[in-house]
Every structure is written in C-alpha cells, then in structure tokens.
C-alpha cells in the first residue's frame, strides 16, 4: 500500500514540476495567436478571438527588408560547417588521446581538462583582436574556423569517455587485418561510436543556434545577421508595441531546436550523461 502511495506521490510531483517547466513555453506559443491587448490580460492559453496568424506573417517578413528564412539560411551557413569541423577535429583528438601510447600523452590529457575549465571570457578580447588584424571582422570565419581546431574541450572530453569504454582488442584486430590508424578510426570506431558522434553534432548545432555573444561581437552588417541577432533587433524595436510579432519570431527561432530534440532526444541524454560518469 505504501509502495502504491509512494508511486502516486512521485507521479504527482513529477507532473507538477513538468507543468511548471513547460507552461511558460505553452503560454508563449498560444500568445503568438492572440491580439496584442489580450496577451497580458488573461491567464488562459486559448486565444479568445480565434487563432490570429498575423503575428507569424509579420514575423516572417521581419522589419529589415529580408525575410526570416534569409536569416535562417545565414545561421545554417555558420552551423553546418561548424558541426562538420567540430565532429572531425574532436573525434581525431579523442581517438589519439585514448587509443595510443605516446610521449606527452598525460600532458595532453591534462591540458584538455585544464582547457575544459579555462574561462572563455579571458580569451575573448585577444581573440577578437587577432581576427581583427586578420581582416576577418564581419565575416563568419571567426565563428566557424575555431571548430576546425578542436576548440571545444567539452566535446573532446565527452568523446574520450566513449572511446574509453571500447576494448583494446578492437585496435589489435584491426591492425592484424592491415588497417592503418586512420582506417581503424574510420572503419572500426566511427561506426561503433555513431551515437556519440551524433551527440556531438547535435550539441554543436543547438549551442550554435543559441549563441548570441559570438555573432554580437563579430557580425555588424544586417545582411549577415544570424537568427539571434535578428531576434535581438526585434526585441529592441517591437517588444513595446507588437508582442504578437516578437513572440511569433521567438517561437519560429525555438521550433527547430525543439523539433530536433524530439526526434533525437536519446543522443542528447546519453551524450550529456556520459560527461559526468567516471567510466
């Protein structure tokens, strides 16, 4: 009996917590269909005047002369190369550090952990000055190129955790079959670690979608704005007068991430869980 009560209690707590967490997003979603004056006067989610789509229409048109899709493409122009480069450089690094014995291995491992904790804020100004000297301001290069150099220690660390779980017999068998180290990586480890690699790709994508400070610092012309900067522009310009538009734009900006999460959630959960584990 107490076991059953315990179960019910857990469900009640979990549901209440879940409701509190998700309600703001539901509210935002339904508010996009409401009249401006209705948004801040009622708690009910349902729009009284029916589903008004004009917020979405205005949000898609934006106020810059270019439509929302244009800025979405801009964002993808950064994110797609960023994802590919991050995956390649992080996998190579983790593979080298875990599967090989060599001089300096422990120093390299220690450096990876140290850079995991190194506050990014202390590097920002010199990094900006370097890109400025190279004439790369107001281009996507500063937002993409670092990914080719395995700059995100978090992903290396995550992949290290996965590489560690695989038995050394794999390397030996591959060697006997005549694979060189690169072939071993591509034909043996990449297929086995596909879920982990997908995790890295998804996290890079999501974090890139959310990145605001990077574009804020490096991008200045409106034609090169990412979705983050477009939203910021709209927050400044429209949020006093036209909530429907700002909210619709917000939902449009969040929707890709939420949809991707729904279809790929196990990769997120497994990836993030692995970073905290000891094995």
């Amino acid at each position: 009996m107490s076991n059953k009560l315990n179960k019910i209690l857990r469900y009640v707590i979990l549901s209440v917590v879940g409701f509190v967490l998700i309600y703001p997003l539901l509210w935002l979603f339904f508010a996009t269909f409401k009249e401006n004056n209705e948004i801040f006067t009622t708690l009910s989610l349902w729009p009284e005047g029916g589903f008004d789509l004009s917020g979405y229409k205005e949000a898609w048109q934006t106020s810059t002369g270019r439509n929302f899709g244009f800025y979405f493409v801009n964002t993808l122009q950064i994110l797609i190369p960023k994802v590919i480069l991050t995956v390649i450089s992080s996998v190579l690094t983790a593979y080298a550090v875990v599967r090989f014995e060599f001089k300096g291995k422990s120093i390299i491992f220690a450096t990876i952990i140290a850079t995991l904790l190194l506050p990014e804020v202390v590097l920002r100004i010199p990094t900006y000055l370097i890109w400025s000297k190279l004439g790369m301001l107001d281009t996507y290069v500063p937002l993409i190129a670092p990914s080719a150099l395995a700059i995100d220690s978090f992903f290396i660390f995550m992949l290290i955790q996965f590489f560690r779980t695989l038995p050394t017999e794999l390397d030996e068998a591959a060697k006997l079959d005549g694979c060189n180290p690169l072939q071993t990586l591509i034909y043996i480890f990449v297929p086995i670690l596909k879920p982990a690699i997908i995790s890295v790709a998804l996290f890079t994508f999501m974090w890139g979608m959310n990145d605001f400070q990077g574009p804020l610092i490096y991008i200045s012309s409106t034609d090169k704005y990412t979705l983050s900067l477009l939203l910021r522009l709209s927050q400044d310009a429209d949020s006093v007068v036209n909530y429907g538009k700002v909210f619709a734009m917000s939902i449009m900006a969040l929707l890709p991430s939420i949809l991707i999460f729904f279809f790929t959630q196990r990769y997120f959960i497994e990836g993030i869980a692995a970073t905290g584990g000891k094995e």
Partner: protein, 289 residues
C-alpha cells in the same frame, strides 16, 4: 597498443594548433593587455598596475559588478544542484514514463541562452506578466520582478534554475549506476529511504556532484546573455554581471586594456573557487576504489 609515433601526432595537429593559437596565445596577450591602456586606435601604452589600481580604488561600478556576480553564482549554483538532484532522485525509480519526464525536464536546457528565451522571461516577469497574474489569483500583490534592484538578480537566476535539466540528466545517470546490492544491505540494516539517500546514494555520487558543482561555478561566473538581454544590467547595476561589464568595456567603450584587466580578475576569481572546491573535495568526495 604501441604504434608508430608520428601518426598520433599527426592526429593531434588540429587540437595542438587550437590550443596554441586560440587558447595559450590569447591567454598571454590578455595578460599583457591588462597592464596597458588600449582603445583600438592608438597603439597600447603600458601603464603598469594602473587598470587594477583603478578597479579597486576608483570604480564603483566594478564593486557593484563583483557583488552581483558573486550573488548570482551563490544563488544559482546551489539552487540548480539541489533541484536537479532532488528531481533526479524522484525520477530514479521503476515507474512508467521516466523517459517522458526526463525529456520534458530537459527541454528548457536545450533552449539555453537563446534570445527567444530572454524575451520569454522578460514577458513572464513583466509587471503585468503571467507570474504576477498567477500571484493575483492567490491574492498576492504583484512583485516588480525585473524593475526592483532587490529582485531582478533573483529573477534572472530563476532562468538558470529553469534549465536544471542537463545537470539532472547527469545526476540521473549516476544514480542509475549505484549498485542495487548496497540498498538491499542498507534495508537489512533497517535504514529508511531518507537515511539510505544520505548514507548510501549521496556518498557514491559525490564525484558527480563535484563535476556538476565545478562546471556550474565556471559557467555561473561567466553568465552574459540573461543580464544583457533581459535587464540590460539594471536596475541600478543590480544585475550588471562581470561578463557584461567586460563586454561593454571592450566593445562599447573600447577600453581593451581595462576590459582585459577585468577579465583577469574574473579569471582569478573562477580559478580560486575551482581550486577551493577541488581542495575541499578530499573531505567530501568519496572514490570507491
């Protein structure tokens, strides 16, 4: 496992270049810049400890910013740890729908620092926002969440707490790895559920608590998006976190030298706290082998 050395080093070239060019070199440059006055137009001029002296003797905003940053870290880091561990504990039970709840709780985390989330928070906690409407239902007076300097920092701290999901997932994975036999032994000894949590579960997962604690600290001290997008550092600099001050010094007023010095102070604060946590870990972190 021994292979020819050159191949491995070849694999490490991208990482090595990244560490040198994008970490070590900028790290040293920012140290040097912190002793200069540099406005991007004239070349940097060496001013010794001038920036640091100014910070601690002649910059009231610096003091406010430091206080806000400490408050933010001390509110959010324990809050997120406690909430995520509590929810993970409730989830770590053989009931149907665990995966569903886990995913729902994780959604706010994937939205992270998105500008849309800042817009949402601003609206929720507006004076006429739905949080105050809900309070009104319970006959509680509206709270000027983002307008009052006493509540604004807490309000943006709540945004961080809303995103406890990723920390919770790490805790949940750790909880699921606690050997069942230990609970059986504890039950035979007559330990109740709460006693089991503190005497069995918590000691075993302390390495994960350490991990979440350190990562939480490093991130909290560097929070930027929430204060910049939601409160613009205000009211009265009550949410003017260090990272925002550094950003504005560097990219709004172009005091690159002063901003570098600020970033070094923040860096040292983060390092000191991280080291303190690691040092203390031998007293409370339990390693099973």
């Amino acid at each position: 496992m021994k292979r020819k050395i050159p191949t491995v080093y070849f694999f490490l070239i991208p990482w090595f270049l990244g560490v040198v060019l994008l970490k070590i070199v900028p790290f040293l440059i920012s140290f040097v810049l912190s002793f200069t006055s540099y406005n991007l137009i004239d070349s940097p001029s060496f001013i010794g400890f001038g920036n640091y002296i100014k910070m601690f003797t002649d910059d009231p905003i610096f003091a406010k910013s430091i206080v806000a940053t400490f408050k933010y870290a001390f509110i959010t880091v324990p809050l997120v740890l406690v909430v995520s561990l509590m929810v993970a504990t409730i989830l770590n039970f053989k009931i149907k729908g665990v995966n569903f709840f886990r995913s729902v709780y994780y959604i706010p985390s994937i939205l992270g620092g998105n500008v849309a989330v800042a817009i949402l928070w601003q609206s929720l906690f507006a004076n006429d926002g739905i949080i105050n409407m809900v309070l009104g239902v319970f006959n509680i007076d509206a709270i000027p969440w983002l307008v009052n300097p006493n509540t604004a920092l807490f309000t943006i701290g709540l945004l961080r707490a809303w995103q406890f999901g990723s920390t919770m997932v790490i805790f949940l994975a750790a909880l699921q790895n606690v050997p069942k036999s230990l609970y059986e032994a504890a039950e035979i000894d007559g330990a109740g559920k709460i006693k089991q949590f503190f005497n069995v579960t918590l000691p075993i997962i302390t390495p994960v608590v350490l991990f979440n604690f350190v990562m939480g600290l490093v991130h909290a001290f560097q929070e930027f998006n929430a204060p910049y997008l939601i409160t613009d550092g205000g009211p009265m600099h009550s949410t003017y976190l260090m990272n925002m001050y550094i950003y504005e010094s560097a990219f709004t007023t172009y005091n690159m030298g002063y901003a570098s010095a600020l970033s070094w102070v923040l860096f040292i604060i983060i390092m000191v706290f991280t080291l303190m946590v690691f040092r203390s870990s031998k007293y409370w972190v339990h390693y099973s082998d």
